[in-house]
Symmetry: C3
Subunit: 204 residues, 3 copies
Amino acid sequence: MLLTLDLVGIFVFAVAGGLVAVRNHLDIIGVLVLAIATGVGGGVIRDVLIGDVPPPALVDWRYLAVPTAAGLVTFWFHPAVGRVERVVNVFDALGLGMFCVAGAFKAHEYGLGPAPAAALGMLTAVGGGVIRDVLAGRVPVILRHGEMYAIPALAGAAIAATGVEWGLRPVAVLAPAILVASGWRLLALRRGWSAPVPRPGPAA
Amino acid sequence: MLLTLDLVGIFVFAVAGGLVAVRNHLDIIGVLVLAIATGVGGGVIRDVLIGDVPPPALVDWRYLAVPTAAGLVTFWFHPAVGRVERVVNVFDALGLGMFCVAGAFKAHEYGLGPAPAAALGMLTAVGGGVIRDVLAGRVPVILRHGEMYAIPALAGAAIAATGVEWGLRPVAVLAPAILVASGWRLLALRRGWSAPVPRPGPAA
Amino acid sequence: MLLTLDLVGIFVFAVAGGLVAVRNHLDIIGVLVLAIATGVGGGVIRDVLIGDVPPPALVDWRYLAVPTAAGLVTFWFHPAVGRVERVVNVFDALGLGMFCVAGAFKAHEYGLGPAPAAALGMLTAVGGGVIRDVLAGRVPVILRHGEMYAIPALAGAAIAATGVEWGLRPVAVLAPAILVASGWRLLALRRGWSAPVPRPGPAA
């Protein structure tokens, strides 16, 4: 069940990564690499940082097969995929919530305190997109334009990390944490909320 | 013998990295960093992912000395090096074959299945070039233009990973795997073969 | 005492990272991510490479709190921070000296020889800035323009690595190594010294 949810999240992230590759005129390797990097990159960074190597995403073939399939689908059917991008964005917001919570839980299991666990949960959710953007030659979207993406992920991860630190059962923390992260992201998408930017100033 | 081959491959990769740095008007640190990153970067990523840390490339001084020497040669004699770039490309294709096979073998030794071992073998061969290009501020060449580079590496790594998975002795798998990867790369260079790109479409 | 020095160095590096983010028109997440990446990124790369995971910078909350605070200060007061950038540069040079020496010592503790320890010491000092620049979408400043930054760091790290290899007590090596790295950097800033660039040539 959890595995299925995880793979669905990876698939959706990978589709988003493949679309970026197609739009940047990359070739099939570019589409596949960006799909895989976006799908499993955040989790792999987290696993390397906490010392869970080789990362499960490399040991279990399904974690490579699913984003590869997503990349191939995007490569062949990108006009159709691009037309349903709003749907992709909704699933992407759900993936964001699942990944930030799963990342925070795993960091807690490996003995990290709540603040580092929250940071790693956010990194799990956004790290793949950062790698994707760096490889595509652009400044990561989560760092600019006030895109409201990392902040909901950090909020969800912080709830999850704090909850398990307080001794609550993960299953009781799961729903509210995902709800906050994914709900906030979806509302931000719909209402155009954005993150603060520095005020203009002469010395900067 | 194997070590010598490995160091020759690293030297050639490092020369290619140094040339990119010179052409992008980097300074001596840029030339050396890109030479070292291109030469040993793919292997270091592989080692970090499978948990072989500190990576042999950091423990054995020769793995740093060889790409450093390649970087210095490129820094001082880049006009001459640039004139023999076709020769560099031939050796680079041989390095590609050796690295993808060595990477797949090592991943297999560390318990990875054939699909992840093939993926890591490819990553060993192309990872250094990806780091080089990201540091030089350009989209990695293996992701665009249909450059036929990662696909031969994946093919060679897949043959190597499948062979050892079937219980064949590494030495029996080595030659055909390198032959496929390096031969395919050389033919692609000579005949102008390229990898598929997405068909144009409105939504992408 | 050492921890305080370390945190001061991280704070200053993080301010420099935040300023790059503000100047590149990133949002608050961009400012915080670049501040944290610049402050602790070099140490985290070193720790991952030598196998000290999870890295202390993730386990001890102060290593995240300090660069986060530096990022927030830069976000809100960047015009004032920008006006004292010369002061920031002086502290940055001191941080460079401390980090390259601390990195070389730690690599030595983990069994690396003097050449790899010197390389990792330099990487500790400059790695955060490289991540910062890649995320900000620019070629790392230490690789171009002949910026005299990595060479002093390598010199300081080499002195530190050689000294402990010879059996000298770290405390006896600390001062001269920092003096060389930070002093060289400060003199280079003041006198406009720069690193060599490749001579122009037709084939490059």
